[in-house]
């Protein structure tokens, strides 16, 4: 395994940003550190990058201590900061050539510009690039030294769809080449699409750890979920089915009954007579969004979300 974090605690004065986080990340896999803003994702990653000393606990990157062995690690770890880090007047090709000079066997600058779709913008000052282009350049910078480990803090923030596709394609190649990729995000869609392994973090603690299938598996077969226009009255549907129907969020519903063909047909018929469209019917697995909401919202707040709001 390329990264291991063991009971990591990071405090700033009275603020305990990270409170005993443990997880591992393997080579050839993309591990996503998922959590709401302020959960402790960046502090954790910054420890692995060698910036933040641990208050207690420990971490290993390629078997080395990220703080003590920083000098050895910095040629083997590629990083992408959440924001900044690049002079506003510098041009993409110039920046990549500068950093290429720091490594013994860097990637070819022009090829890298092509891969990150920045060739056309290679002579544009950084401050005049779009948010997505700036992020792609920052990713290119992380890749220039052929790192074995990539630490990416919110890599797709502010990117349009094309940019995200480009980044996903690059990350897929790197993963296939055996790199260990750890990225943080609060974007569930991003996590659901890319992660081999998810670590959900909240208030500085790990609240879930596993593959997407593991996290979204439902042990009970006595319920199913679907999405539909909010005009649906769950009580009317529930009365017809003879089972509880709950609104779990805007346009999201849960039926507490086994998803038999008859029940599903009854739901579809109920919606059809009201001119409503049935969408995203799920029987075996929950949506990551629902799991995430359950994991990261306060226990006392959870019933409210499924109750009488809206």
């Amino acid at each position: 395994m390329a990264i291991s974090v063991d009971e990591l605690v990071i405090s700033y004065g009275d603020t305990h940003a990270v409170q005993g986080v443990s997880f591992t990340a393997d080579r050839g896999a993309l591990t996503v550190l998922l959590g709401p803003n302020g959960a402790g994702k960046t502090s954790t990653v910054e420890h692995l990058e060698g910036y933040r000393p641990a208050t207690s606990g420990s971490a290993r990157v390629l078997g080395l201590d990220p703080i003590r062995d920083h000098r050895t690690l910095r040629s083997q770890v590629g990083i992408m900061l959440q924001s900044g880090g690049i002079p506003t007047a510098i041009r993409p090709r110039e920046l990549l050539r500068q950093y290429a000079g720091f490594f013994s066997d860097p990637l070819d600058v022009d090829e890298l510009l092509e891969r990150t779709r920045l060739t056309e913008r290679s002579r544009t000052p950084f401050r005049r690039l779009s948010g997505g282009e700036q992020q792609r350049l920052s990713l290119a910078l992380a890749l220039i030294g052929r790192p074995q480990v990539l630490l990416l803090d919110e890599p797709t923030a502010g990117m349009d769809l094309d940019g995200r596709e480009a980044v996903r394609a690059i990350l897929d190649e790197l993963r296939a080449d055996g790199a260990c990729i750890l990225l943080t995000t609060h974007d569930l869609d991003e996590a659901e699409r890319t992660a081999d392994h998810l670590v959900v973090i909240r208030d500085g603690r790990v609240v879930a750890d596993g593959t997407l299938a593991e996290l979204t598996r439902r042990d009970d077969t006595e319920r199913f979920t679907f999405r539909c226009d909010d005009r649906l009255d769950p009580d009317a549907l529930g009365a017809e089915l003879g089972a509880a129907v709950l609104r779990t969020g805007p346009g999201a519903f849960r039926v507490d009954a086994a998803p038999t063909p008859d029940t599903i047909a009854a739901v579809a018929a109920h919606l059809a007579t009201r001119g409503l469209r049935l969408d995203d019917l799920r029987t075996g697995a929950a949506r990551l969004e629902d799991v995430f909401r359950d994991l990261t919202s306060d226990a006392t707040a959870a019933p409210n979300a499924s109750g009488d709001t809206a």
């Binding site: 990058e49 060698g50 910036y51 000098r71 910095r74 040629s75 770890v77 990083i79 900061l81 924001s83 900044g84 880090g85 690049i86 002079p87 506003t88 007047a89 510098i90 110039e94 920046l95 050539r97 500068q98 950093y99 290429a100 000079g101 720091f102 490594f103 910078l141 030294g145």
Partner: protein, 242 residues
Amino acid sequence: MSAFTSQLRTEVALASRQGEQLLVSLGIPLLVLVFFSLVDVVEVADVEQAVDYVAPATLALAVMSTAMVSLGIGTGFERQYGVLKRLGASPLGTRRLVGAKTALVVLTEVSQFVVLISVAVLIGWRPPTAGWVPALAGAALGTLAFAGIGLLLAGTLPGLGTLAAANGLYLVLLLTGGMIVPLDRLPSAVAAVAGLLPAAALVEVMTGSFIAGRTVGAQAWIVLAFWAVAAPAAAIRWFRWE
């Protein structure tokens, strides 16, 4: 290409794109040199022509503008934008980063000196050969002192704060450092305090080295040496990378 040259090349490219910094490091010293050499406002008893005093004082001004103002402001914004933080995670290393910044300062000062000395000679300055060794030693000490001050500001204040403080300090030291107005023209209390600051000390070393019949007082060397050690030490002690 080595990591050092790669960094230095970027430093030079970025510095050459900073028009306002070029103005401070070359435009203002050049303006001061030409204006005060040709317009008869500086009265110095022991020199035949104004340029004999103004030229060495302008060299001191050039050192201050590059080592304190340009270096300080540039580094301050790099710190604010996380550029230093990002470089810290690369294999460049602190030593080569500091080395590249030092080389940029020296290269800039060499260009300033070439331009300023050429223009001063055109105006009629004839510096004695014996003055060069102490003057260059003074320039080296002054560079250390002012770079230490610039980096101390850059490492403790936000980018705009550094900009304001470095420019403000530049103006104060320009006026009280004997760079335009000789120190003996200032109120004696101001002159006494100014004499303990690196600007006046550097000006005394420069003018003392080049003006015939003058010598550099021990106090100027001591003050300059003190700042050359204390300012970088303070910068190392208090500089925060982000």
